[in-house]
Symmetry: none
Subunit: 401 residues, 2 copies
């Protein structure tokens, strides 16, 4: 029995409420000048007070040493095995522009590219055409019907688009047409299993029609497709946890990930304060809230230590408004670390804090990587946080007689 099957068997509804405050890229590394991490540098008295009240630990999103992308990091956080439930590139790209896929859909990431008169790729990104040009060309390609399959083409930005193949009997097990290099022709899309032959044919036909339609649109005179992926078939969070969950996220990628696991999606604004206000407004209507804060990760990715510190301080100021709502369980964690000194996602475990009336206290008094090493949660897998949150909300009955 998988962990999700176990939880599904013992979960129950109850009036308690869980808030999962996700600070994207939480967890860092010391600034070589000061020897202090972003969390140690920031003045975050409210988070420190929560650490003193709650139980703390360090969590691995996937496994020690493995750096997660946003997809696996969030799926682990929602309690799903991030390797078994890995979401293909096409589906993530669709999620990232708020496209709701239907069961049976296959999505692929597309690039407009430049080919020369011999058909060889000279620029895989077509000189990064403008967003307007991308939208215009997507309209040209959108809506084809090939062997009873509709091909929907959505602009992302610059040279990037998403192609969604919608029809019966589509199996995503096909190769990319993108050779990931220039000086060669786009590759044929071939089936990796017999069932995928139909999609390979249709996707190949789409590419040839696109070539014809784009011929006069140099530099964007061809397309490359990669990361074909079907809509994943996970059991949803309402099924597994018997929760009524609401996702609050400014960035579409995270709304998309939440949608894949069956959360309701809130309308919200564009700022951190908007998100907390959206939580407050919807607090009576749901029993689980996923509040996604992106800006820590963005600052870390930019290698901007100071900005990451200042975003942490801004989040800290919003904490009292959240705790005033009186959630039965509050979890504060990340989907992965993004140390500013690395300028990207990293493999380091993420700090986790859980507050509830029933968490067993530990001696941690400070919200930092070093302090959390001595926390009562110890070192655990990020997939174990949802069961812990559910238990602390008294939403799990016992297993076995």
């Amino acid at each position: 029995m998988s962990s999700l099957e176990l939880i599904k068997e013992i979960s129950r509804t109850s009036p308690t409420k869980i808030v999962l405050l996700l600070i994207d890229g939480l967890g860092g590394l010391p600034d070589p000048q000061t020897g202090k991490t972003e969390l140690e540098t920031a003045s975050i008295p409210n988070l420190d007070a929560l650490a003193a009240q709650g139980i703390c630990g360090m969590a691995d999103p996937i496994a020690p040493g493995i750096t997660p992308g946003s997809g696996p990091g969030h799926l682990a956080l929602f309690g799903y095995d991030p390797i078994e439930c890995n979401v293909g590139r096409g589906v993530l790209e669709a999620a990232g522009i708020d496209i709701e896929l239907e069961p049976g859909d296959v999505a692929a990431r597309g690039n407009f590219c430049t080919v020369n008169e011999k058909g060889l790729i000279t620029d895989r990104r077509a000189g990064r055409i403008s967003n307007e040009k991308c939208t215009e060309l997507c309209k040209l390609l959108d809506g084809m019907s090939i062997n009873d399959v509709r091909v929907l083409v959505y602009p992302v930005r610059e040279h990037r688009f998403v192609a969604v193949f919608r029809g019966k009997n589509l199996v995503a097990d096909v190769t990319d047409s993108d050779p990931s290099q220039t000086g060669v022709s786009p590759l044929d899309i071939t089936a990796l299993s017999p069932q995928a032959a139909r999609l390979a044919d249709i996707a190949g036909a789409f590419v040839e029609k696109a070539r014809a339609l784009l011929a006069s649109h140099k530099p964007a005179n061809m397309v490359l497709l990669r990361g074909f992926a079907g809509k994943p078939q996970f059991p949803s969070m309402p099924e597994v946890y018997k929760l009524k969950p609401l996702a609050i996220a400014v960035y579409p990628m995270y709304r998309g990930l939440a949608r894949l696991v069956g959360m309701n999606i809130a309308s919200t604004g564009t700022t951190l304060e908007d998100e907390f206000a959206t939580l407050k407004k919807n607090y009576n209507s749901y029993d689980f809230f996923f509040l996604h804060l992106k800006w820590t990760d963005t600052a870390g990715e930019d290698g901007d230590f100071k900005r990451k510190v200042s975003v942490l301080e801004q989040i800290d100021k919003a904490v009292p408004g959240l705790t005033a709502l009186g959630p039965d369980v509050l979890v504060v964690t990340g989907d992965h670390s993004t140390p500013a000194v690395l300028g990207g996602h990293s493999w380091h475990p993420v700090p986790v804090l859980l507050c509830s009336k029933y968490c067993r206290p530990d001696a941690v008094k400070e919200f930092s990587e070093l302090a959390f090493l001595n926390g009562g949660l110890g070192r655990l897998s990020l997939t174990q946080i949802m069961p812990l949150a559910m238990a602390n909300a008294l939403k799990l009955t016992k297993f076995g007689a």
Copy 2:
């Protein structure tokens, strides 16, 4: 997807270098007189300084409570599941005398033994004949050809030898002829699966020919075979990690284990200092170094607490020469604990230290079992050390988009 498959998918080459300093049998138990372990007793300022710089923890080679042999301990260290990838006795024995097996070979551990006129075993070790006698008798048996299978016979020492069966369609799934007791006849070698019938027949024929050839050589007038095992088919370290690895080890068993996972094997001398000199000499030509130091284990096996302490101090003196090479990642650990008070391998977790520019610091200041309990790596599986070393060397890309 197994952990090795995951790593294979995300590993990449880079100019960084990893040194894995393996102190065999590292980790002990307190001397009842002083209450201090071997590590706590030894004066090891250089290792202490590394502990203060790096991140520390305790690793289980197999699982809590399970004492590993050298094979599983090292395979775990190299990142292989030590239960799934367990190497048969015959193959380990061959590795231990530096024999390079070919794909399809089956190896068995052999004993010369004594049988009486009724064919009943009276001494399973033939009175521990001399190494010279063993070599002489192996020559007598070596090189037979039976049904297109060559049987190669190599002396180990005293009554011990290795038999390698080389030919087509040999499946190692056969029973031992060694009954592990005296007063009975050697057992028939029987196939445990239909595909193994050919090997069972050939091994049986070899035993009967050996009986005839050895008739006049009492006390060594018969052979016993056990631990038939085929050459394992692991993905190699160069395949999985995309490393160019070099193994430096004085004892053949460890060279053999390194060879099984595809490492290059250095020529080195017979002392600890020779091994460090070999590392220095080859430092520019490889990007991964497995440096195996045996003497801590030998002292522990001998129950010699003081000698184990003094070997640790000798190793400590060599550390500055190693760090002067500037490896990007340095790991110091063991394949299992060998507490002198137990006089053998034990189930206790082994101390692990990892130093790199990107390891998150912890509060550990001393290289000891007790201090490492509070280390930032926490308690982990020894199989997770290679992924961590790879991550810290920036040789792993992220998993998932």
